[in-house]
Point group: D2
Chain length 424, copies 4
């Protein structure tokens, strides 16, 4: 499909634009000598000519187009601008952070930033939230075809017997990658091997894929004669809601909790222990049960989506992040214990969109800076911060329900008044 | 929590910055006379002072800060820039579109745009994809507390008996909103009423919330004496993976399909019918079954996340969008029938982030322009286009698995070569 | 496969036994003139000869072998004896029962009868339980193959346009059957039509199957040209845990509840409101969430299995019956509100095993006797009773957990002492 | 609640009957000197007097009432008789069986025995089925309450540090029990410890409960100060459909498969490879996906329920057994590969109802006889046989769908003609 050679050196810019606009040339078929900025401009011009749409703002960006076009986004035409706000200070006590941070959120959902910020205030007054992260690791699960039970048994025995060879070969693909274990699943003539890797500060999906490819094509297939049908067999499982991730975890498993006294609930969240506990019971537990949901929470996805965009994470990973369980329990007559639990949050401090201009700044704002001496620490810090931010978001929205503020906040949006309360 | 009045008129800009940086003032507590641009600059300066991070690029944006700060994102500090690419032409035959479009995708995931673009080429050669959308409507489900079975029965009878009054009151909150039906769910002392609304070209979550608030607080609670505990009882269910949405649908229910002959499979997708069908069987069906996933597909979430960001949709709605079923079946000796099915895609052509600078341009590029004469048509067009784009993405990634291209594509990313194949 | 004609009239009993034992003849290939009792005896003798096992007790039964062999169980060899106990009086207030009943339970699980009986005592002291049943109806969902979106749309329109013809034809297959509605589900090239029927006092699975067969083969297939691939397309869905049944219900949807004061909790259940509510929260809610279970309860399946066996229900329907949600909430300082909710309980008062000797007696004991004047009433009564019995079982077992009685009860079993507490 | 002492020695039988019938005495309050047979007779008489029902057949049993009343069923009144038939010979190649067996099935569902028997014939002609069992072990998961993240971390560390002490103490409760591992799950203030035990030939639920009780009350609670809230925290999870069991397995994980050539399909199952594969695809895969079911099969529950009843298993365990995946794939132009997979089948060769009269005979018929030299072998044999029987049932019913035999079989039932085809 590459046909840059078909582009005549003598071709004018206008001719290129016209051929793109007419569909005579595909958008990746531009002269290789064009810079990413120029190629983007030509594509925008062609699109404008073809559709009549004006693409002025898409062409206004300050990111490094060369890098973005090469590493993040082919057929580059510019950038989407997503408004960014900030919440905090968010006071956290974790293993990778102990103190306060300001958290950037990129969102178009009115009230989300204001509401989550309100949660931060309540957490601060309560002395900060406790946060923890467990680095489960990144997974990739190729699927293989056998002839049936007996070959499957032999194949799985081979895998167990050669786990050291597999590990060595896998880890040769990156010095940041360690193979943690291989979880098999087999039925009929299909065998899934769920490889789990420690990938340091990287989210690690690509590292895991490359490592799996290596061990599958260079070791497992040749040695066993068993064919790999797809390098991802959906038992991984990436960017789809799935029980396996809920149970086994994937990426980071994140915990956050806080105890809030009655007066703080009243002053900062306009609510009471009794109301919060009941809303939690009927909405996050019974309602999610009724809906058959894996999200026993109010709106993890909102906070994660906004923080993921700001910090260069993959927004499709909000799918996994939306799963999890909020708990709100009474403590004594007036206080509450509130916690969030996210079993599968795939995030990284390097790779993906983390090196892009605004995203790198957002990570710096969070103090999320990889340190070669402490691999995984930066990603752990990011995970703990996200846990705290999600807790702030849960507290504020749950409180909004109890004071019937949700709809009213949304009604005032058009007038530009920042409000407490957000949609789930 | 609003205390703008506490800000002294004589306060200098530096004093404000300093007080923010020191945490003596919260980020929404700025003088109201400041423009959004100025307020954003002050906040950035304060964050830089507090953290040492440079926030240069976040401050470079061309969107309308006043509008964004008022309607999309409180505590505004600037914008995240997400690289945008384009795929197409994508040839589609639907009820809201019949022809070719170019689809903008905002993403940081290498290979996604190139891979999906390859799928577009195959679809074009196959004569285009058939697409359809069913407008299920937007839902919101308040949860109520009763004393038990008898009050629940009486309450539900009251709802049935007063559905017309409820409808009239709900529809008074917006001329674009129509109440379609109310689905009850009750057990123990909890009753959920899942209101379903037609919301025209809007995604409609806020409209639905406002309408529910009105009927609950002005009609249902006063008349029945039954208290609403939370306006969203998670039986809606928003931004969480859930069976109810898989079964009942939510937002748009989208279908797309194409039949591709053997020579086109070979030339454009480097694959065969036999290999595609087997990968589909072992990965999308058996693998997702093994994983307990509701996503019987390769990577709907990737394409939706990228298209949602480009067009101003709520990225947290990728959670629902990731659910669904891909089918790939052999047709005769060499061809395949391929389809995608997304039961719950909440999207809109107005509201949310659709009015922002780059997003509005992206929608214009797609020809998604609300027409008062045909309410819902623009959103329907967007849904059908997304269905086609997702189909293109599925075909290309599934083909990449069969030709073992996935990992190799990712390995070449660092060198900036656009590639076919993307991660799921 | 029938080859009775191959059996020589002059063949002796011994010859038949020997040929069966040697595998030269299959077990259904016996002379047709043999009575069911004789055929059973011959089969037992052959099995004894072939395996050396003594089948003495299996041959001791008082049921009507002719009927059982013809209507319930081919290759008849006798009967399994399942010990039967009784609980009660169970005091219930429903729409089909208002008073006390004694409930027979056939089980081999020690402590189950004693424990559930303890729950009955607590319910009696509390003034009886409120019970309700909603007759959802029996479902059957054939699956059809179309060529894709357009034929699916046309097919579904045809179904809507011909619903009256379909109804008339379906109802012609039984005077006890009424077609309630048809719920379609379609994706790819598959269409599922979930027919829902009122089947009076019968569980109705066979009636539903026969009715579907008729309308599919005589009306839908000929008129539309769309082929039915399987009369049951698993969207019904029978005897498998499934979300569709949890959401839509199937058979009977059953509710039961009771409020129990502190002194009764203490005296009859050795527990307190506080302990019960906490066990409910951590076990039935959080534990089932952690397990990804659709059974938010302690052990519905135990009570249902025992009652189903005693009353001639299909024990495989315990699968659906095990789904559901128990609620236990505090009421004032010392009392609890407890409820059970079973969305999908397929049961009947006629058909299946209900006419067998011991089962008919058990139904008579419950006062479950079909009345032609009130079709569905007997099945409704049975459902309400089962709801009450399940509630009794939940209360007692949950209480046993709080008083740490569970394991101790099981330890004493070997000594034959009836105990409170049962396993879930 | 025990008040046998309240029974006057001079009390006549009639007086006892009358007091029971009037509800003045509870059914377990009988003089201890009464034999189980006498007590059962008295209870039946009282029930007859109270309700007018005749309980003649319930009183006709040959099982050992003393044993049944003491170990299986309190408030004993007699027995339910469930018709029993036989299928086979079923030819199997496993690790615990290699040869042919006859399998007793106790059922009231017409056509089930005949249909499954047809599957046995096809398997026999195909050379027998390959069967395997993996002994996952029995699980029990107490739930504990902590004060939050930090105590949870300390508690889990304690468990890891003391696993040897825990193991020793647990195994002291039974010489047949071995602790395999402990899988923790924690969020909020709840911690679940899923103990997994090898329980030899026993199903083991009670053994697991007793062992957990011992280690919890004698070791874990005293040493950690963390309270156990319920000995079963539903993360076990027993007799409820649950993802954890699908993923992790519970009891036995069972596999069975067979390859059947075209002529055998045609002669014995009246079907073709093509039709079977399509029915499998649309029903067992797409239909179960549509239904949100964990049973990707036709009717595992039917065969298991019937075999469980015949052999003294707990029928409530059909809930777990109903989960699993059938595969049917084409092999060459005319043959099929068919397999069944059941991840969680809790069964035993000792304990429960296995010692009852008819059940013991049924086990003997299967050659399932515990051998102290080979603990677990008898249970493994039973599991492999059940796997083969389920495979036979799947093949026959799936074939019946393709030849549209299902409904017709049920229509002929009333006339007592054994038929192929059964309901799912």
């Amino acid at each position: 499909m590459k046909s840059q050679t078909a582009v005549e050196a003598t071709e004018t810019r206008d001719e290129i634009v016209r051929s793109l606009a007419r569909g005579e040339r595909r958008f990746h078929q531009l002269p290789t000598e064009l810079s990413a900025d120029e190629a983007g401009a030509i594509r925008r011009e062609a699109l404008e000519e073809a559709t009549g749409a004006a693409l002025e703002h898409i062409g206004r960006y300050s990111l490094d187009a060369e890098r973005a076009a090469g590493r993040n986004c082919e057929n580059f035409i510019g950038a989407a601008q997503i408004p960014m706000g900030v919440i905090g200070p968010l006071h956290l006590h974790g293993e990778h952070i102990d103190g306060a941070v300001f958290v950037p959120l990129a969102t178009t959902e009115a009230a989300l930033v204001a509401s989550t910020n309100r949660g931060c205030a309540a957490i601060r007054e309560a002395g900060g939230a406790t946060v923890r992260v467990e680095d489960v690791g990144m997974t990739r699960a190729p699927v293989f075809r056998t002839s049936g039970i007996e070959q499957t048994q032999a194949f799985l025995r081979w895998i167990v017997d050669h786990d050291e060879e597999i590990r060595v070969l896998a880890e040769r693909t990156s010095r940041y990658l360690r193979l943690l274990d291989i979880r098999p699943m087999a039925y009929g003539t299909s065998v899934f091997l769920r490889f789990r890797f420690d990938t340091g500060d990287a989210m690690g999906m690509n590292m895991a894929t490359i490592a799996c490819d290596r061990v599958v094509t260079e070791l497992i297939e040749p040695a066993t004669g068993v064919a790999c049908i797809a390098l991802s067999g959906n038992y991984c499982v990436d960017k789809k809601p799935a029980e396996i991730n809920f149970h086994e975890g994937r990426g980071k498993r994140v915990f956050a909790e806080v105890v809030i006294e009655g007066p703080i609930l009243k002053r900062y969240l306009k609510t009471t222990s009794r109301d919060l506990v009941e809303a939690q019971y009927r909405k996050n537990l019974l309602g999610s049960i009724a809906a058959g949901s894996k999200g026993f929470n109010a709106h993890y996805a909102n906070i994660l989506a906004a923080a993921f965009l700001a910090t260069g994470q993959d927004p499709a990973h909000v799918v996994e992040g939306s799963m999890g369980v909020t708990c709100i329990e009474s403590r004594g007559p007036e206080a509450v214990y509130a916690s969030v639990y996210m079993p599968a949050m795939p995030i990284g401090a390097v790779g993906g969109g983390t090196a892009l201009a605004t995203q790198r700044e957002a990570l710096a704002l969070l103090g999320v800076v990889p340190d070669p001496e402490r691999p995984g620490h930066a990603a752990g810090r990011l995970a703990e911060i996200l846990g705290g931010a999600v807790l702030a978001g849960e507290l504020s929205l749950m409180a909004a329900f109890t004071s019937h503020d949700l709809a009213r906040a949304h009604e005032r949006l058009g007038r530009g008044a920042p409000e407490n309360g957000s949609g789930d």
